[in-house]
Symmetry: C2
Subunit: 246 residues, 2 copies
């Protein structure tokens, strides 16, 4: 937790309060903060800044001198379409994509997604994981997250409206490497930043099946690989999205 | 587990056996394999290939037609010097660095490393985490791992012998971005692959303190950042090392 994000309702003029148990615990246990100490705070969907602790009880921490003047960092111009992973790894994936600044996240069904994943109670906790990611990455603007339980109707009927001319599928058996893809795109452009894909499809454990890759390719998505090594979904997402940070 | 790695002692001519509980469970529960099925196998520090199940008991799976003809993928020309992280994340970090193909891993003390981390029983399980990483990344060659409990003597007395002219410190407050660093290096070279750093220092939660960055800089390490966003150690390691894969 590199900053403490509070909803707008917790602010009033130059005062604010923290009442979420996890945040109170962080202030006490990790920061060891006391009355008079300054905290890094932010307003959800608002600005970042600082505030001073004026009172502490076990249920509520009062803040004064609230000063929110720093705009959050820009979002990445990027939609990640992720095959719904095992619930166990969903929390960290949502946190990491949020901390990295992904603007849109679409969780989609795939052949290798087990049906039971869609019943997981973790799917009701996405807002909590997003908050963790924002507080990690020091951002206030939540990514948009949508769930697509049916792959084929989404790809055939809805994808065209969302697609740009630069969509890739992360696929260990793609013919092109990511860097070859970027070199192709760079031929007519001045900077790598301008030709980074704006949509990336990432499979879960086991990746996409050929049928899915072919269906996406018909919509204009290019399969690219990042080497012969097979990575955990989390590691792969971070290794790929690292390209947008540099 | 994308392949099953066995020690040399488990092989004899064209036969081999699996006797590790985790591997037997994987063959039964995840692969649902039966006598006559072919498995992807490899020999630790040897080659990769396939074998056919000839007999199965709860304690042992016998393999025949063992055919190991594929060399493991090349290691990355890279040493990662990692501030010893919380034991909870050590397993995944070692797994991921191994799966990514890092050749040398040095776990080092830092100002923000808690002393108790060095007493963690997880440090006795590094071989196990390496095996998981190799089986994930489909590789047979373990990275070399060393522990350095004292930062200053290591940096002042031992680092010079290990250093190359391309060592970086991942540091959110570095003056240069990774891509600016690469552009500088590229001026006199033909391809990005040839100027990738061969040593990367990565801090744990909270990163390096100024004193540590300065001490490393005196040895010729360049502090570089990958953007304003602060990532979890695991996410940061994968986002940075993703540069070596592309």
């Amino acid at each position: 937790m590199n900053c403490i994000l509070l909803p707008a309702v917790n602010f009033h003029n130059e005062s604010a309060y923290i009442n979420a148990a996890a945040q109170i615990e962080h202030v006490n246990q990790v920061l060891g903060a006391k009355v008079g100490d300054t905290l890094k705070v932010g307003q959800l969907e608002g600005h970042l800044g600082s505030a001073v602790i004026t009172d502490m009880t076990p249920e509520r921490i009062l803040l004064g001198n609230v000063d929110l003047t720093t705009a959050p960092p820009p979002k990445l111009d990027l939609t990640v379409v992720l095959a719904l992973p095992r619930p166990k790894v969903l929390r960290r994936l949502i946190m990491d994509m949020t901390a990295l600044g992904v603007r849109d996240i679409i969780l989609i069904n795939s052949y290798r997604t087990q049906k039971s994943y869609w019943q997981s109670p973790m799917l009701n906790r996405l807002d909590e994981f997003v908050l963790e990611g924002l507080q990690q990455g020091i951002d206030t603007a939540a990514p948009r997250i949508s769930l697509q339980k049916r792959f084929k109707p989404f790809v055939e009927d809805e994808l065209a409206a969302l697609m740009t001319n630069r969509a890739i599928i992360a696929h260990p058996y793609g013919a092109l490497s990511f860097s070859q893809y970027m070199q192709q795109q760079l031929k007519n452009a001045e900077s790598p930043q301008k030709v980074l894909p704006s949509m990336v499809f990432v499979g879960a454990e086991g990746g996409w099946i050929d049928y899915e890759v072919e269906m996406l390719a018909r919509q204009g998505c290019q399969a690219v690989h990042i080497g012969a090594r097979i990575l955990r979904t989390e590691a792969a997402v971070n290794a790929i999205l690292g390209q947008w940070l540099l």
